[in-house]
Amino acid sequence: MPTGFFSLILHAHLPFVRHPEHAEFLEEDWLYEAITEVYLPLLATLTRLYNEGVRPRLTINVSPTLCEMLSDGLLQARYTRHLTNLSALAEQELDRTLRHLPQFHQTARMYADNLRATGRLWHEVYRHDLVRAFRGLQDAGVVELITCGATHGFLPLISTQSARRAQIEIAVANYQKHFGRRPRGIWLPECAYAEGLEQLLAAAGLEYFVADTHAILYGTPRPRYGVFAPVRCPNGVAVFARDLETSQQVWSSLIGYPGDPDYREFYRDVGWDAPHEYLRPHLHADGARRPLGLKYFRVTGREVPLEHKQPYVPAHARGRARVHAEHFVRERIRQAARLRETLGGQQPLIVSPYDAELFGHWWFEGVQFLDYVFQELHERQRELVTLTPGDYLDAHARLQTQRLSLSSWGADGYYKVWLNEGNAWMYPHQHAAETRMTSLATRHRAADDELLRRTLNQAARELLLAQSSDWAFQIYQGTTVTYAARRFRAHIRRFNALADNIERGPIDQTQLADYEARDNIFPELDYRIYAAT
């Protein structure tokens, strides 16, 4: 009998960044960088481990917005262009570093090799369809895929029950479209919980969701096993909560792995360092420098300024990833043993949810780390069993019933990241649109005019895109504030224009076609989900 269980949950999400109105667009790079650095390496690593008999088992939320982008023909074509461009730069770098910067040549070779492999994966192995690749891993039993809010809307701050329900039901329908089955679980956007959400989840056929630690720890009655066993809401939906110890080992300022001196430094990028004329063919048409993803320095030390960083040595970093993975698994086994004693013999479940994009993008060696973690877990499976929340529920029918505490995984544990003096201005607009959408959907529930139905569906898409928690988050963080605020305003304005068309007529078909072309998310959407029940 194993000492305990370990459940790794990765949350893969990006907001819907697709700008067909421009030939190239900076924010679309978020997706392209994530494909190169996170999704392709993760898929390839999990597939290789499986083929080698290691049998990794983990949960991945591929958010609906990400699924839609990964399966979009325009973005796939643009990623091909992005990859071609980056690969060409990496090949050039082989020559430049060999001639002038030998201390970086080894790293340049690593990038060139990686990008050749990336090209093979993209074109030949996955044939531009990463959603199908994730689906294949689920069908093979490697991952349990779960869903999220349709556009990562912050559910507790959505004003109407029908708009909350729409975020969930549209996500479930989208999951079914992409993965050919219904999801068992959901990653609540930002792990944000408020009482009553579980009713909507149950109605959508969802068995469980992921929450932050204090959702359970501060719940009523007291959780017998803390967060080391899931609980059930009174309506039967199960809840899995985050373990802080594992969270800290990856995220912490003091003991977090990514700060190791041998790991790659995120903030030194060839896009800032190389001569502008040399880079010019690889930049966007505006010629502005931007991070290109080739980085030649290592962290070096906590207090070392950027200009004094030392050259990156791939082999050393890989070695540290292995050491850290061994340490991580060893600590989990120790933690499980300690917990089992504390829990009076009950086998603990350690739930470790992370943003997927941490692994590979910010922490460049993160996917290597996961590779080694799964190898190590495989070796020690008699002590610690890896499983998914679905696996756990299949084996453990008897769970404590609890009313959860309001919570999120944002700063301070509640809602201030998404509701504060800097972004509170968004909510009157969003809430008005939510009420209006339900009113329109209810009034036109039986609409048989195709143009009217198209307009109602597009209005729903604009509302959904405005609701993305990403905009409020970026405004709070002070990052890409202009872009986030304009995206929000643009979607609200488009929604209002479409709603005005519906209410007052006539419908501007040119405008409608323009909006449909730009914001083409969820083609399967049916606006009637918003109708009052």
């Binding site: 949350h11 990006l14 907001p15 900076l26 910067l101 701050l157 501060y218 009523t220 009655p221 007291r222 017998r224 096993y225 803390g226 967060v227 080391f228 802080l244 300022s253 003091l254 003991i255 977090g256 792995y257 990514p258 700060g259 190791d260 001196p261 995120f266 903030y267 060839v270 800032w272 001569p275 505006d286 420098r289 991070p291 962290v299 207090e303 300024p305 950027l306 917990l339 943003d355 994009e357 993008h361 910010w362 922490w363 008897r398 505490s405 999120s408 700063a411 301070d412 509640y414 809602y415 509701l419 003096e421 607009h429 008005a432 990403d470 970026q474 963080q477 890409t480 305003r489 209002n496």
Partner: protein, 357 residues
């Protein structure tokens, strides 16, 4: 000037510094060229949606946000209804505590929103209307009720025997989650249970000779919460605002006896002497709150405990009072790992304060 930043990170893109920076170009792009590419922003959103609406949103256990709008200009409505008698009224927003009936009022700002400081675990309703000295409030808008979450471990235990842990055992479970303050509160509760509710009172008396009123179970729980708040150095004004009057007076007496600063080392020492509780509070971990809390494009600002604290709780079982050995808060075999993430390389750490025994 708009500065390009890495989405999801609070760090600014670094200045060019490097490999062969023959011609350095600012990482800041020109505002006009970039702005032209962003989604259109040629018209602002409506200021109002011409409907009567008032929302009261929970931000945290301590803060609510209210916003409202009127379908019709409210002063015109008032004048139509009251005529000349309307002159003494002003538009006000108020928050009603639905349990105590306490009402907090403020002038309604033209921005049509207001932030309220509130208490955890309470139900509130906000209203906008006309107020005048000595006259009844004329309500125009009311929000739905909003309930703030409680903070801390619930007092209720599961009635199912298999899920009803004994208090001292549950304190250990809470400690394992990393919620040390809550673990300490539950451990004090267990000590009270084991001593006919004398433990916390003994601690309080040892801190200051001021006489405490007779305390029932709820007040004792409040006293435990207060002591934990003092141990964890929560801001005194915040602590005091949440206390019932008798305990607020006791806190005043405590501070009068000790000066404005509480002798926390003394408090920690008392916890060890009286109960065998050992605390290791690593203030260094507070620096974690300064880090950029996101690592990917638009990923979450993931919360971490503000301090890494371990509470060592002796067993409350008679005859098993020996303390466990102090466990290091740091990985024991992990030399050189106490580095911060790459982004922290450009940040300064705060001065450290350590409390260790």
């Amino acid at each position: 000037m708009m500065t390009l930043r890495f989405p999801g990170s609070s760090e600014q893109a670094p200045a060019s510094a490097g490999v062969a920076a023959a011609d350095t170009m600012s990482p800041n792009s020109g505002p006009d060229s970039r702005a032209a590419l962003l989604p259109e922003d040629d018209e602002s959103l409506p200021e109002l949606y011409e409907r009567d609406d008032m929302q009261l949103l929970v931000q945290s256990p301590h803060r609510l946000y209210a916003y409202w709008q009127h379908a019709h200009e409210p002063h015109a409505t008032l004048h139509r209804a009251f005529g000349a008698a309307a002159d003494g009224y002003h538009l006000a927003v108020r928050l009603i505590d639905l349990e105590t009936g306490h009402t907090e009022s403020a002038a309604a700002s033209p921005a049509r929103n207001y932030w309220f400081d509130v208490q955890p675990g309470r139900a509130y309703r906000a209203e906008v209307g006309f107020a005048a000295a000595g006259k009844p409030f004329v309500r125009l808008l009311a929000s739905a009720d909003a309930r703030t979450p409680t903070v801390g471990i619930a007092p209720e235990r599961d009635e199912m025997p298999e899920f009803g842990a004994r208090t001292h055992e549950f304190a250990q479970v809470v400690n394992e989650t990393g919620y040390a303050a809550d673990a300490l509160a539950v451990a004090l509760e267990a000590a009270d249970e084991a001593t006919q509710y004398e433990s916390t009172l003994t601690l309080a008396h040892a801190l200051v000779a001021a006489v405490l009123p007779a305390l029932g179970p709820a007040a004792l729980a409040e006293l435990r919460t207060l002591i934990v708040a003092l141990v964890f150095a929560e801001p005194l004004p915040l602590i005091r605002a949440q206390l019932s009057p008798p305990l607020a007076r006791w806190l005043d007496a405590l501070l009068a006896a000790q000066g404005t600063q509480l002798d926390q080392p003394r408090l920690l020492e008392l916890l060890r002497e009286l109960f065998g509780f050992e605390l290791e509070i690593d203030e260094e971990a507070q620096a974690a709150t300064l880090r950029p809390t996101s690592f990917a494009w638009s990923a979450s600002a993931v919360r971490q405990p503000e301090r890494r604290v371990r509470v060592w709780l002796p067993s409350m079982t008679p005859g098993r009072s020996a303390l466990p050995p102090l466990r290091s808060a740091q990985p024991s075999s992990f030399g050189g790992s106490h580095e911060w993430l790459p982004s922290m390389s450009v940040r300064q750490q705060q001065p450290l304060l350590r409390w260790r025994f």
